[in-house]
């Protein structure tokens, strides 16, 4: 047994407590770490703060305080007429609000596009919000029921008692959303078929899919739109005279099918071979295997990619303005050319408004796609 006498040294009083560590939490620590970690960083931080201090009050002034919110013509937004400095002329947007949303769609029938917007929101929410069950019914609704109902609703149908509205009355945000919707409704199934074709063992199917995909991805959307606009009428018998909006829709849908095909192909390649073999071992045929086993898994992985494609699609719908379709951007352009509203500062207001609308839509979708990506990433962690 050891006794205390054998212990060589025992401290009999407490040593001086060492000083507490530098704070590792709280505001001071955060500032020190993120803004003032070195001399150079501190200088840069101060410069930026100074710059923001100079810019932000001016911005708030221009965008909100000095902005004109109600205006009947451009005079209300000219500093000399009003008598005080004038910021952005939001009155221009307010005065054209209905035109920006519906174009020249007959005023008494605007409940139809409004109902269309509502149906669209329901369909998108069904497919994209994870908590809503029965995605299979959602697919049938969005890709089959909704397009048919929307077509009857927007362009009219005599049997249902809805007067026909020619597409050249359609315009504004409505047309942008229609193009985007038709683009996604057609390009997803067509993209899946092209992707399956590209991975098929049949040489004819594979080579024709590759040619279509690579050709379309190699040319700009504008040339495809020009082709749809000037060449498509030549391809069909003379009596057909395809509607100008329809031509553009065909062009956009084809164009995005190629991009969608590459996205879906990524998903198909990510499915392990074992899944294919297991399906075949169960005696499933090609289509049964694809529809029941492979595609549900592959499409789930590529949801972020499809949403990103949709962001690109929505941004690129603006290009139809070049072939004279009155989409959201084109109606703003047209309003800017109205002599009543012509002043040098007006384009700024119009384009800023368009930018804000597109930004909200695209940024929202981008955040959604990022959240899905994060969810999928945790799903795979076993």
């Amino acid at each position: 047994m050891t006794t205390s006498a054998e212990v060589h040294f025992v401290r009999s009083q407490f040593s001086e407590p060492s000083p507490p560590p530098m704070r590792t939490s709280g505001i001071v620590h955060w500032l020190r770490e993120n803004l003032f970690s070195s001399v150079l960083n501190s200088v840069v931080t101060l410069l930026i703060v100074f710059g923001l201090y100079k810019i932000i009050p001016g911005l708030v002034d221009t965008l909100i305080i000095n902005a004109v919110w109600v205006a009947n013509d451009s005079k209300a937004c000219v500093a000399d007429v009003v008598g005080h400095p004038v910021g952005v002329c939001w009155g221009f947007v307010a005065a054209h609000w209905d035109y920006f949303v519906f174009g020249q769609y007959p005023e008494t029938m605007r409940w139809r596009p409004e109902l269309f917007f509502a149906l669209e929101v329901i369909g998108l929410a069904w497919l994209l919000v994870q908590r809503i069950p029965r995605k299979d019914l959602g697919m049938i609704y969005f890709f089959i029921v909704f397009p048919i109902v929307s077509y009857c609703l927007l362009s009219g149908s005599e049997t249902l008692g809805l007067p026909i509205v020619q597409t050249h009355y359609w315009g504004g945000f409505l047309v942008s959303i229609v193009i985007g919707t038709v683009g996604i409704v057609i390009s997803v199934p067509l993209g899946i078929i092209l992707a399956l074709g590209r991975r098929s063992h049949m040489p004819v199917a594979r080579s024709s899919s590759v040619v279509v995909i690579e050709f379309i991805r190699g040319v700009p959307l504008i040339t495809v739109l020009f082709m749809a606009n000037v060449m498509f009428p030549l391809f069909v018998p003379e009596g057909w005279r395809p509607d100008s909006l329809l031509r553009v829709l065909v062009g956009v849908a084809l164009f995005f099918s190629a991009y969608m095909a590459e996205t879906v192909r990524g998903g198909l390649q990510a499915i392990p071979r074992g899944q294919y073999e297991a399906a075949q071992a169960l005696g499933l045929g090609y289509w049964q295997m694809m529809i029941k086993i492979i595609l549900p898994q592959a499409l789930k992985i590529v949801i972020p990619g499809i949403v990103n494609n949709f962001i690109g699609l929505l941004k690129d719908t603006t290009l139809v303005a070049i072939v004279n379709i009155f989409d959201f951007l084109k109606v703003i352009e047209a309003s800017l050319n109205d002599p009543v509203w012509r002043t040098s500062g007006m384009p700024f207001a119009g384009y800023l408004f368009a930018a804000i609308v597109y930004f909200i839509l695209c940024y929202g979708m981008a955040r959604y796609s990022m959240s899905v990506e994060r969810r999928l990433a945790t799903d795979n962690r076993h």
């Binding site: 993120n34 803004l35 970690s37 960083n41 840069v44 931080t45 930026i48 703060v49 063992h201 049949m202 040489p203 004819v204 199917a205 024709s208 050709f215 991805r217 190699g218 040319v219 700009p220 959307l221 504008i222 040339t223 020009f226 082709m227 000037v230 060449m231 009428p233 030549l234 391809f235 069909v236 018998p237 003379e238 962001i311 941004k315 690129d316 603006t318 290009l319 303005a321 070049i322 951007l329 352009e333 800017l336 040098s344 500062g345 384009p347 700024f348 384009y351 800023l352 368009a354 930018a355 597109y358 930004f359 695209c362 940024y363 981008a366």
Partner: protein, 396 residues
Amino acid sequence: MSVVNGGRPSEAKVVFYNDPRIRSLFFQLVLLALIVALFWFAYDNTVANLKKRNIAQGFGFWNVEAGFDISQTLISYSAASSYGRAFWVGLLNTLLVSGVSIVLATILGVVIGILRLSKNWLIAKLATVYVEIFRNVPLLLILYFWYRGVLGLLPEPKNSIIFPGHILLNTRGLLTPRPVLGDDFIYPFVAFVVMVLIAIGLSVRAKRVQESTGVRPKTGWLSFGLIVLVPSVIFILIGAPLSFDIPVQGRFNASGGMSLAPEFVSMVIGLTTYTAAFIAENVRAGILAISKGQTEAAQSLGLSHAQSIRLVIMPQALRVIVPLLNSEYLSLTKNSSLGVSIGYPDLVSVFTGTVLNQTGQAVEMVSVTMLVYLTLSLLTSGFMNWFNRRVALVER
């Protein structure tokens, strides 16, 4: 299942329409027939429609006088030139705006991508705001914004904004002094080329010495001196054979100097600011893909911060970045076709726009334009693949 000799399953007897080979052949024949029918349908209708509308076919128009002017031409062109000449003018304009924008967008994109990873919270946030704004707004809107919203606010020529160095900015675009080279300018230029070659030779030799001895001879300052000082000294000794044609502000127009059309300036600013946001994301992704262990390993080998980025991080990050850059460059080149919307005379605007309107030969114009873009895409991909092979991981 019937099992015969050797325990191997015999070829199961199936009806011929259930034989996978025959099925596959059948489906392919049907597909082929459909494709041929579709093409025949389109071709037949096109020929009939063209005949009915009295539209010429073929490329006879190529040598016909164009009869319209183009605002920006890199090669000599006038209204008396042929349509073929107009095609080359448009193509060169497309290449010019794409090339300039690719260089600027890469620089801006790399800078912003690195800034997004800055340790300074404010810098990182500002870079993020930039990226999110430009990624989520249509390019066409950005072009309109710069062209009509910003450049449209510029003053008339008589009230030009004047920057130091005789640079004028007005509704006619950006006017800069134009260098006028004297006859003797060839000497400093030749000296410059020779010195660059010598500097390259020095660095090759330095590398060889480094590989055999492990010590790299310092060549940086020597090369700098050779490339900058020698031509400058020659330039000054022979009496500075260089003058500038300075733009003069007139009442309605400015004269002299070199001018960049507002359409060109808007295109370059628009394409650069838009694509830079995407490139920044790629650069950030590439750098984040390199594990922290690489930085720590580099530091433990005694490399400085700059060295570890240049010799360890960047070469690996490039492997991720280069394929992504490839697709950004491709889409930038394709996006340059949006010049048609603000009147920049690029290929689409000149050929698919004006020439198509004058001749009505839609099939030829659209096909030629598409072929050009396809070729450009293939060439860009080819170059980037070559570059990618150079930076790719060498498996030993």
